[in-house]
Homo-oligomer: 85 residues x 2
């Protein structure tokens, strides 16, 4: 019981981790020091987590990963758009 709750909190915390990076990149328009591969690999990995969530029909896992995938795609888009910065 307590383990499941820790797992849920852990999933929520790690899913939110990309938000400060997205906000910083959006505000500064500077993405030069950011590796594009981190969000790319995260999209692939979280796509697999999403697939896992769909197979085991786990709503929090599905929701958290859709949210994180969206945030990371947004970061990849900024990395491409602000490439010059």
């Amino acid at each position: 019981m307590i383990a499941t709750q820790i797992g849920l909190v852990a999933g929520a915390v790690t899913s939110c981790a990309v938000i400060p990076q997205v906000v910083k990149a959006y505000r500064s328009k500077h993405v030069c020091d950011i590796s594009i591969w981190q969000p790319v690999i995260l999209v692939v990995g979280m796509g697999l987590w999403l697939l896992y969530g769909l197979i085991i029909n786990d709503v929090p896992l599905i929701a958290a990963n859709i949210f994180s995938i969206f945030c990371n795609i947004f970061l990849i888009a900024m990395k491409i758009i602000y490439r010059e910065g």
Copy 2:
């Protein structure tokens, strides 16, 4: 069975996602555009995943999270050391 395998691959992929960022920061010594909060939040979240892994006694989960926590602490250290860059 297939779900567990997808989950394991997903965990391995997301655990490795930070590596390109660590390598880029180490090589360039430039970390200005990186938000320190992403690795900080990831260390907290992965610490909880590690705790979850210890409770359910899942070796791949424990190993993947120890590795990721180490990488993210290294990134936080570089963010502090190369702050001027």
